[in-house]
């Protein structure tokens, strides 16, 4: 039966080749009916039938085909009524009244008998040995036809299999590509979320103060070693800091993050600037992952003064001085470096010491904090802007000092410098508006070296009434 299935010929449409064999057999033997049958488990299927219109299969009753397929030799029953088994076959006993039956088995090359080539007559008759041989030859023709079909079928199946494998391969590739796309999108989303924890936050609105900042990174990921923050520390006091972690890019950004959160947490416990830098120094030295990373920072606390302005307490940890801009009576601006003597690098030495000093930020005055990306920027002649260049620039700012215009002017100055390998730059400006000036507000500009033209203005509208 497996062999029948292998040749895949059951229930297939009539095939011209088998029909011709049946017709040839009928003509050669001068019989009314000739068939090519395939014997299935429970039925005999007429692959081709000459003289048996409308019959495609019969039951597997013993006597004729069902018996003939059980032997390798040609079966000849000259008179079915005289045969003890065939006489009760429906074809014999039924309306067809078959009296003569001869069949040759269709035997495959590997010995399986698939069915038979049959000739039937309604009259008894004898056939010669030569006729038997002819019938066997016809069965062999059918066998050859099937073998041909089988090999063609194998080619087709192999091709189908190859196509299926190819299609599966393509599908697998497509799925892998889509998975990669999804992974990439997930990683990008993750990186973007992480990045938001690394870049400085939007500045808050501080009553009586104008704040402005600028942040530009040298890394295309827009994370860097510069940081700043302004946040409330209880009551009507505010704290701010700005600093620079040694190094650039993602590695520096991880230290930046630790630094920012440590300073914020420390200030909530003790809003003394020196204590905050001491806490950061300890945290950076204890952090094994941070290793030899350290930073420079300025940390300040703002106490509002009753008659306007703020008392600013500044502590410096190895950071270049903040500049205090005071308009003079002559209409100019006096620039003072707000140094706190003895402030050392933060996170580099266990024995680091930090000191603080206070200054009064009066209405009309401003304070500029910056990272060395500003002072180390090179001018057209190849020299660094340096402290002297910056102080000279600041002395020419208009009075009264406005944090927004101070940042705008400083960014404009940076933009005129031809340096292509600029470091990260962070700027933070504070100013106290004069009584007659426009209300205080916040200006933020964010710049990335990856998109130098994208001078995005953030929270520009975040102005207080």
């Amino acid at each position: 039966m497996a062999a029948v299935r292998r040749y895949d010929i059951l229930d297939t449409p009539p095939d011209g080749a088998y029909d011709r064999v049946a017709a040839l057999a009928a003509r050669l033997f001068e019989v009314p009916v000739a068939t090519v049958t395939i014997v299935d488990e429970d039925r005999i299927w007429f692959k081709a039938a000459h003289g048996l219109e409308g019959v495609s299969e019969i039951g597997r009753d013993p006597g004729l085909c069902a018996s003939a397929v059980l032997t390798d030799d040609t079966t000849v029953i000259p008179d079915t009524l005289l045969d003890p088994v065939a006489c009760s076959n429906p074809l014999v006993a039924g309306p067809m009244g078959v009296r003569f039956y001869a069949a040759a088995p269709i035997i495959t090359a590997d010995g399986y008998r698939l069915g038979t080539v049959n000739v039937l007559d309604t009259r008894p008759r004898e056939i010669s040995e030569a006729d038997s041989a002819t019938l066997a030859d016809l069965a062999a023709v059918v066998r050859d036809q099937m073998e041909l079909r089988l090999s063609a079928l194998r080619v087709v199946r192999a091709e189908q299999e190859r196509r299926k494998v190819e299609q599966e391969r393509r599908q697998a590739e497509e799925e892998a590509r889509q998975r990669a796309e999804r992974d990439k999108a997930a990683i990008a989303a993750f990186a973007s979320t992480l990045q938001r924890t690394l870049v400085p936050p939007v500045l808050p609105a501080v009553p009586g103060l104008e704040l402005a900042c600028h942040y530009k990174t040298a890394s295309p990921q827009e994370v860097g070693g510069d940081f700043y923050d302004v946040f409330p520390v209880g009551g009507d006091r505010w704290a701010f800091f700005l600093g620079d972690v040694c190094g650039k890019g993602a590695e520096a950004a991880s230290v930046t993050s630790l630094t920012r959160y440590t300073l914020r947490a420390a200030a909530l416990v003790d809003a003394d600037p020196t204590a905050a830098l001491n806490a950061l120094n300890t945290a950076l030295l204890l952090d094994a992952a941070v290793g030899t990373r350290f930073c420079t920072a300025i940390f300040g606390v703002l106490d509002p003064v009753r008659d306007g302005g703020f008392t600013v307490t500044l502590a410096t940890g190895g950071h270049p001085p903040a500049y205090h801009l005071c308009p003079t009576e002559e209409g100019g601006v006096r620039v003072e470096a707000a140094r706190a003597k003895g402030g050392m690098l933060v996170g580099a030495f266990a024995e680091a010491a930090f000191a603080s000093r206070t200054l009064h930020l009066a209405p009309g005055q401003g304070l500029l904090l910056y990272t060395d990306g500003l002072t180390e920027a090179r001018t057209a002649d190849g020299h660094m802007l340096d402290d002297t260049g910056l102080m000279d620039f600041l002395a020419h700012r208009p009075a009264p000092v406005s944090a927004g215009s101070l940042i705008d002017g400083t960014v404009a100055l940076l933009d005129t410098l031809p340096d292509t390998e600029r470091d990260d730059v962070a700027l933070l400006a504070l100013s106290v508006p004069t009584a007659d000036a426009a209300p205080a507000g916040i200006t933020t500009t964010v710049h990335s070296a990856a998109a130098p033209t994208a001078d995005v203005s953030v929270a520009q509208e975040n102005r207080r009434p």
Binding site: G318, P321, G342, M344, L345, D372
Partner: protein, 122 residues
């Protein structure tokens, strides 16, 4: 526009080694300086004199390398002494407070002369 950076070790004597730097001591040069210095320290020369006469520029990465070298030297019971500090680097050391921790001399010769002589034969 950036000077080629050079690291030389012109002199070693017992636990002492002079490491002479020239060129821009920046993020590109810092790892090599740190690596060479740590080799000297682990190679039995934990007392380093950094001759900075040829340093044309030093940024925070250069400073970071000096901090790292100073720590490793200290861990090995050694020291880091600076010699011939250029003006700008001097200001940077002052701003960062490092001038209070690292002894400095006008030249490598002066730094060597100031060392206790008994260490060189130890």
């Amino acid at each position: 526009m950036t000077d080629a950076f050079h690291i030389d070790v012109p002199h070693t004597d017992g636990t002492l080694a002079v490491i002479a730097l020239s060129g821009d001591f920046d993020i590109a040069a810092a790892p090599a300086v740190r690596g060479r210095a740590l080799e000297l320290i682990s190679g039995g020369h934990p007392d380093l004199v950094a001759d900075l006469a040829g340093v044309t520029f030093c940024d925070s990465s250069g400073l970071g390398a000096l901090v790292g070298i100073w720590r490793c030297a200290k861990d090995a019971d050694g020291s880091l002494t600076l010699a011939a500090i250029p003006d700008r680097l001097g200001r940077l050391l002052s701003v960062t407070g490092m001038d209070t921790l690292l002894p400095a001399y006008p030249s490598a010769q002066a730094a060597l002369a100031a060392r206790p002589s008994n260490r060189t034969t130890a």
